[in-house]
Symmetry: D2
Subunit: 373 residues, 4 copies
């Protein structure tokens, strides 16, 4: 008999679609021990729901997400709504005994994030798991980077530089909840720096301890949220780190990029070439040293790839979500994910760094992160 | 009421899986006027069929592909088998009144290809359509290239250089029907040069008329097929063209690449960076001339992209197949595909070029393509 | 009759050699209205001087640089010594009525820089000119960037990100005056951030007004100077700017790079590909937008190039120095340089930014640059 | 006492200037055991000669190149004239007992080349040396490639693909001896394919034995020479090789590029990024395999670099000539050059390949190179 787990999805826009696709494709490509069962989808706009449910294979739909709490067919709730709803929905579902996978950032506000981490800690004691969709961890090139760092390819890390640059946020951009402070919490900062901080912490394997300085700027004046936030920080081990998130950086569409320099070597990744990881091996014979451009598409060798296509047949954006769905299913089946999955506690630490950066920008002073509760 | 078209798939290996995924994803992402209905899958290995059918949503399965001919639920037959079966299966299905979409190359032998083209011509008079899965035409960057050439971005084309380099075919490669002359017809030539010739003809919009010279070589001696074939040719309009297909080119995994130089500008594409098209505009102010690296991911602007993700969220290998499935459904609904779909007649012209190259290699002489029947 | 100007060079190491070459090649390649006459070279190490002088065509040599002050044959003194000597030598020569071209950074300490700017202002009233060897301004790709910004290719600039990364400063690096606080003033900061700040100010055409935060770090503990300094700042017009200088960034050899994002477009340059400027034109038709890789080697079109080789025949590191020598000779002949030449006053403004960054790093607070005298 | 060798240069245009610069810079940067003494320059245009001689440091000049034959101060004659003069001038100088360094291609016609090789063989018996300015061998990245092949980095070579693409030869190009059949012999073929064939033979270390096919085309009809020649060939060891030379390839300025694929790895080089060599090491751990981009600028590690600048300070076009001048001086002093220098015999073998390609294009048939005398 096939084991399945009932999944409820809240949200049907960009992220709702990306997650729905992930729950479908994971069964087809990963043959998981426990398969996902697309049980129910919830969203405010009832008119669009029937078509969405049919398209993505959900058995049922509802315009009232609260109904999910008591639904005995649902074991995992996938929260893919705007940031201001994450806390209310996630906490309600955890209290109802569901596992919760929440879209990033954990929350729009630090207070929300703190409440979510607390609820997750409580639920964990009752065996409930939480996950956050920092999907980029599961791009094969990033997962390979994580593995190489663990294997010692860099030695002690000295520098991290991370940028997440987009360009859709100019003066002509249409209305979006992403520009509303009440709903999004912040602009590029929560949206993009959240990814960067998660990626930096994930790859380095240390916590950031100090924000040296920051700048938050809104070029499009009418807007309630920042267009860009830059900050400098240090890791516990002394590595310097720079972060830049912007929605007004012409020439960059979804340029989520990170570089790590260590005493023995360096690594870099940029999402717009998501199938590539670049490695500099400072221990190679000097005459042959250089950046090696690894096309991370070799089945049996590179993470996740054996579930997809033959060598050189590259993957796209949504594959990170499918890979994450596979790891969530593994975790729920008591198995180990390919690379660590972030839970609410982990995402709360990322949120603390974001909060520290904002404080630093607003006060014009360095901020010690351990001072932030 | 929803209109659907019943699809039968023959084959369940690499291509079977790629096509099955396409028939599923096309409904989810394209909302086609006529949706695909995965009716039945046929393959020799009966043991694997039930799982395959369930996984990919096929209602039924059979280990005898001939049953499909009389199946009233099937309107389109998708042939995803080794090359030696294309002719028999396609011709049988055309004669049974089905539309046929056949994997490339059209056939393993020129005789088979000729028979298929004849059968398609006959079936066409009865309203039956044929398609060949030259999926790379529908990579958005390639479709954009086609459009730019049509708009005159290059002016008269003077040079085409095309390469399809892989490296899996060294002495240690495992057994595969792709190495057997009886089943594959040829090695790198039919497998890879077929794509190159299709792409070159598609983009330039002219026929090749002359093969100047060619070399066919098998480095791994035990093998029945070529490891590489290179040839030089000319287009009707005078442009020179070079083609190189190899399975033993270290450093290349799936390097399907083409460059066109015209009197006004140039274009180039390489599949390992499949989301990128490079354009050189020789009419721009001289001080600013250079290769522009276009990330072909802008919804509403670039072909196919609006069905997928926001800007900068790149696509992968299988999206070309889904895009082709969408165009096949459009064609069957009497609509125009995004870019031209190759039918058997068109693929036969490609096959004639391949045949001419082989003759040239074997005879050590130039070959006029119109001499080949 | 040929007009020449007598040049005295102080220094015979890396920079002495680069400058000596520049004074020789400028005559051969630029046919300047006023030619350089390599009159005398001064340095401490008398043993090496005769060979140096003969090799580079200097008529005379001296181990006492002070002799130059009274030398009637010398009109221009070129100071290519370690940072701690810049002030003493430059001021003495200005007071002796010579023009002075000083290697960057202007000085090792802010006090020295202030004194030099004052001396230059005084000398200027007597018609004496000063120059600083920020040679990268005269790499053709950078000079083209300057021109494109002036022509409005970017519109209002919103972001600048600048990095100068090297990797020679690890624990095994040999002794050098560049590691001594007394001689160099600082480490990567004065050496590399000086270039970045000059380049950013030059290209944007505005002053930096605020340092938001900074970090200064020495990984190799025995060392008297920093291994890296990062800082965030804002331009007068509101653009954010990030700077990172490091000598311990594995994988980077001389990676002097800058990117500007504006409302209409973007530009980027990286020295390791010094013949290339990348331009993103946000006003181009959307379907064709992308980074254009301009090979800045077209005579008659790109700055400086017509003095060198035919199109596509790339230049190297020393050409920036030769180009600067040509512009210095132009300036001394009362002509306009190809792009603006930095004098001591200009370089002092760069030094103020460096000083502000150090203060910010040490105090953990934002620093308003107008507060620094 | 310093040893010098008297050099006579014939020619004062593009190549004359490049060679003159090389003879000057080699003394400054290489401190050769035997220094070059720029003795005399000869050219037809007497008006330009005095300025040229003064600029480049030649002691004397003459408008009659034949005078050099009897000049006792001249030991080495450097022929930098159009192709039709190479044979007459070189042979006269060899017969007069001079060493001769001739610009490439060896000659405009095969008959001339044969005569030159014969004269060189005769002169060699009297201790006279010949050299051909295939300067690209001495670009550090190319010299490193040669060394890596020798060390076995590629194993058995299976494919070579070489292109030399330029774009200055469109219909609007001005008059040049390079377009005249009488003076140049051929167009892109002799000019550019000569470099490619030399580079391929040099790197592989084998002779080409068979031309499989070729195409020669002139797009600009009025012209007496080809605009492009493409051909396919095989090396003695079985490697396939493709060559393409064009002057009408928009988007390419001086794109002299070669790639070698071997059983163990691959190498590639493209002159427009002349400081870079890319290496694919197929023996590295699979997960880390990829193209390594080596910046060939490390003194003490990479060929020629220690004579120039610190790491990461890139070189330009003319450095290949200076490096060749250094090796010529080494050879004349009885020392070993950094990498092998081509003499007339060696260049004659290259010319035979070019001749074979032309025959193949004209006859539409494969050509065995040993059949060409």
């Amino acid at each position: 008999v096939e084991r399945t787990i009932g999944v409820a999805l809240i949200g049907q826009k960009f992220m709702g679609r990306a997650h729905a696709n992930a729950w479908g494709q994971v069964n087809r490509f990963f043959e998981p021990a426990v398969r996902a069962r697309a049980e129910i989808v919830a969203a405010r706009d009832a008119r669009a729901l029937p078509a969405f449910a049919r398209n993505w294979g959900f058995r049922r739909w509802t315009s009232d997400w609260r109904e999910i709490a008591d639904d005995p067919e649902v074991e995992l709730v996938d929260v893919a709504t705007p940031n201001d709803l994450h806390a209310e929905q996630s906490i309600a579902m955890l209290e109802a005994g569901k596992h919760v996978a929440c879209e990033k950032p954990l929350a729009g506000t630090f207070a929300d994030a703190r409440a979510m981490a607390a609820a997750a800690a409580k639920a964990k004691r009752r065996g409930r798991k939480t996950f956050v969709w920092f999907n980029y961890r599961r791009v094969p090139a990033v997962a390979l980077a994580w593995r190489l760092v663990r294997e010692g390819a860099l030695g002690r890390v000295v520098h991290v530089r991370a940028r997440y640059l987009q360009s859709w946020g100019g003066p002509k951009a249409g209305a979006s909840w992403r520009f509303e402070r009440d709903r999004a919490g912040s602009g590029a900062h929560g949206d993009l720096n959240a990814h960067l901080v998660d990626l930096a912490r994930f790859l380095v394997g240390e916590e950031l301890v100090l924000v040296h300085g920051a700048v938050e700027h809104t070029f499009v004046k009418k807007r309630g949220v920042d267009d860009c936030v830059l900050f400098l920080a240090s890791f516990a081990g002394g590595a310097t780190a720079s972060f830049e998130a912007s929605r007004v950086a012409q020439g960059h569409w979804n340029d989520h990029a990170i570089e790590l320099n260590g005493e023995k070597g360096s690594l870099r990744f940029a999402f717009e070439e998501m199938n590539v990881l670049e490695l500099f091996d400072g221990t190679a014979p000097k005459a042959k040293q250089g950046w090696t451009r690894i096309l991370v598409t070799s089945p049996g060798v590179h993470p996740y790839v054996d579930r997809w296509w033959p060598e050189g047949h590259v993957l796209g954006y949504e594959h990170g979500f499918v890979n994450q769905a596979a790891d969530v299913l593994r975790a729920l089946a008591g198995r180990k994910p390919e690379v660590p999955l972030p839970d609410f506690e982990d995402a709360f630490r990322t949120q603390r760094v974001l909060e520290g950066a904002l404080l630093s920008a607003r006060e014009g002073a360095a901020v010690k992160l351990s001072d932030i509760g």
